[in-house]
């Protein structure tokens, strides 16, 4: 298929076909065995809600309430599937598009928008959610993730056999990021230290306008092997397969088996961000090819075929989505501009003479206007 170019989808781990049929995989089926209808419905629910939120954020951006929005549209299976495979001992290092994963980590979705409204650069308590802040410098966080994993290992949180204790790190990045030196150095460090980390590459076929063939001539999963890191390619629009391979990888990493690389083969159904115009660099034909592979539609088809998506479930999720949309709008609009002097806060943990002097000057300066009554 031309839409894929040289990077075929022949060898992807699949457990749910694009038309919504379940298939077996010799190695990975067993990692999805625990997914009963309720669990799958939960995934369907999460994907649906995240997409609704995503669309709401897009319209808020169009209305000028946000400076920018980065859609996760089309990548819900990769994110929700992998997110559901984690537990509270695991720690996640996202890139900037992992709203689905954020949701599975208990981040209240509207909170993410603090960043995109220009209030601040990080929006949640990373430690509390065991979900690190978004990182915009492509690939930079892969090293933080690796160091964090090395530290978990030091702290005796790996390979003890105690499921209440053992954990691992999951680090998300895109196909474009695989070209960055940092990401490759992260694989060097992870491999050499047998760090408990899963590198989860969402190959959404594009780095902004550049097709993945500008980053690699061979499937990205192959990269891991070069560092001695076992790697697997999974259908990134198959939430069950994404769950299964991530569970496998996490169990391996948590038990001291070292790093794993997962390439989730998926598609960015939306624009790169609200500033982007994909009509400049991709065809409608490609978009339709992938629309037929919509990750939500295929789980929907499967659950429906099993009689596991009753109308009440659909209605409930529709209502929840609507309510989330309303709350998102309200929340975002309610956020005031922060007090100006907060720009001097948290530059350092301890006082720094330059910051203190500039803050003092600024406060005097601001007061001078107040005194003159020019502005508040």
């Amino acid at each position: 298929m031309d839409a894929l170019g040289p990077q075929t989808d022949d060898d992807l781990v699949t457990l749910l076909t694009r038309t919504g049929e379940r298939v077996e995989h010799p190695e990975f089926s067993r990692y999805a065995e625990d997914l009963d209808a309720a669990a799958l419905r939960r995934m369907w629910h999460d994907m649906t809600v995240v997409r609704a939120f995503d669309n709401e954020a897009t319209s808020l951006q169009r209305q000028g309430e946000l400076g920018l929005w980065v859609q996760s549209l089309g990548q819900e299976a990769a994110q929700i599937g992998s997110g559901h495979a984690m537990n509270g001992n695991d720690f996640v290092f996202p890139s900037y598009r992992e709203h689905g994963v954020a949701h599975t980590r208990g981040v209240d979705l509207p909170e993410i928008l603090r960043i995109f409204r220009g209030l601040q650069h990080g929006a949640w308590d990373a430690e509390a959610h065991r979900f690190h802040l978004y990182t915009l410098v492509i690939g930079a966080h892969s090293l933080h993730a690796t160091g964090y994993a090395m530290a978990m290992d030091r702290d005796g949180l790996v390979g003890t056999g105690d499921p209440e204790r053992d954990g691992a790190v999951v680090c998300y990045f895109g196909d474009g990021a695989t070209s960055q030196g940092d990401v490759n150095e992260a694989m060097v460090f992870a491999a050499v230290h047998d760090a408990p980390i899963v590198f989860f590459v969402q190959n959404n076929q594009f780095a902004i306008s550049e097709p993945v063939t500008r980053q690699s001539r061979v499937p990205l999963a192959q990269r891991g092997a070069g560092f001695g890191i076992p790697s697997v390619r999974v259908d990134g629009n198959d939430v069950i397969a994404c769950y299964a391979v991530t569970r496998w990888a996490l169990e391996r990493a948590r038990s001291g088996g070292g790093p794993v690389l997962i390439e989730a083969f998926t598609y960015r159904m939306g624009a790169h961000t609200t500033s982007d115009d994909p009509t400049r660099y991709r065809t409608r034909a490609d978009e339709s090819y992938w629309a037929e592979r919509d990750p939500i539609a295929r789980l929907d088809a499967y659950l429906s075929s099993q009689g596991e998506l009753p109308d009440e479930a659909r209605e409930a999720v529709a209502a929840e989505s609507k309510e989330l949309g309303r709350r998102t709008r309200e929340t975002v609009r309610s956020w005031d501009r922060p007090a100006v002097a907060t720009m001097f806060d948290h530059v350092y943990a301890e006082p720094h003479a330059t910051v203190e002097a500039e803050r003092a000057w600024f406060e005097r300066y601001e007061r001078s206007f107040a005194d003159q009554g020019v502005h508040a």
């Binding site: 920018l68 915009l136 474009g176 550049e210 400049r280 922060p338 720009m343």
Partner: protein, 337 residues
């Protein structure tokens, strides 16, 4: 003379440079079919093809490093770094390799690489998209760093930078991309078509200019803050203070001569840039003015710049950046002496 935006002027300048010399090629992320995230390379991929307008892998060190190799074979790569904050992965290649090759080879190897950096803030962007890192390059010998403030300068200077045998950091004030101005395309074309064009062009792009004459205070700016300085001069003028505005244009070399000439006349200098004040470009200028015009000064040289804090969320950027009030405040302060 044609009306152009600054983005349009750079686009036309790139095209002219590519027409003039087939060794000129563009490299960067998304500069091909997309035309760059700011559309500065719009249309060039279509007309010159993917071999001369190369969409590169997503790796800034790789871009600069391979450009060095291509320059060794006579190419003149013009790199687009997508945003200021993403130049740092290439910092080692720029400062330890690109900057030093001419010196290390005793002048045998020239690396005419231009690195275009859409820089500075004011466009409501997210983190890492509004920074002013020019001082971090000006400190390293072997690099040149320039920044245009008008469409005319953008058109001329991008071509002079490309023609120059030295590596040049070309800082494009992204908030000014859509400002319009008249552009005369012929002068620089004639200049660069002449035999000594590269030398003349390099010398010219390295000089500041007096953007507005005045007698009481010298206001120094470059790139994004020139318009602000001119506004301040206007307002101060209405209040009876005559402000001269110097547009530096070049950060390395720093055209201190032009500034010092002005400073000796006015005796009062205020420097305005978006880069953080501490250890910023204004520090060097202030130090040089002290060294060379000390006994002509009526007042301390003042600096108005960004604060010693990361560039904040966009809701606060108006207060983080030098703005009209802060510039006028500084003008008032030097006028009290």
């Amino acid at each position: 003379m044609t009306q152009m935006t600054m983005a349009g002027a750079i686009n036309r300048g790139l095209r002219a440079a590519m027409d003039r010399d087939e060794k000129v090629l563009l490299m960067g992320e998304d500069i091909g079919q997309l035309g760059g995230v700011f559309r500065v390379t719009d249309g060039l991929w279509k007309d010159f093809g993917p071999d001369r307008v190369m969409d590169t892998p997503l790796a800034e060190s790789g871009i600069v490093g391979t450009a060095i190799g291509m320059a060794m074979r006579g190419y003149r790569p013009v790199i687009e770094i997508q945003f200021d904050g993403f130049i740092f992965p290439a910092y080692d290649q720029i400062t330890t390799q690109l900057a030093k090759m001419h010196y290390r080879s005793q002048g045998r190897i020239q690396l005419p690489v231009v690195i275009r950096v859409p820089f500075a803030g004011g466009i409501g962007a997210v983190e890492h998209h509004s920074e002013s890192p020019e001082a971090l390059f000006a400190h390293t010998a072997g690099l040149r760093a320039i920044s245009p403030a008008t469409p005319q300068d953008a058109y001329d200077m991008i071509q002079q930078a490309i023609a120059s045998p030295d590596p040049v950091l070309f800082f494009e004030p992204k908030a000014r991309y859509w400002d319009k101005g008249e552009v005369d395309a012929d002068r620089v074309d004639a200049q660069l078509s002449a035999e000594d064009g590269a030398s003349v062009g390099t010398a010219e792009m390295s000089r500041g200019r007096v953007a507005r004459a005045g007698t009481d205070v010298t206001l120094v700016a470059y790139g994004p803050t020139v318009r602000l300085a001119l506004q301040a001069a206007e307002v101060a003028g209405a209040d009876g203070t005559s402000v001269e505005v110097v547009d530096l244009r070049s950060i390395s070399p720093l055209d201190s001569a032009t500034v010092i000439r002005s400073a000796k006349r006015t005796g009062r200098v205020v420097i305005v840039h978006e880069a953080p004040t501490a250890y910023g470009p204004g520090a060097e200028l202030s130090a040089r003015i002290a060294e060379e015009a000390f006994f002509h000064l009526h007042a301390p040289v003042l600096r108005v710049g960004g604060f010693h804090a990361p560039y904040p969320g966009s809701k606060l950027e108006h207060d983080y950046l030098p703005n009209l009030d802060r510039v006028l405040d500084a003008v008032d302060r030097v006028m009290t002496h």
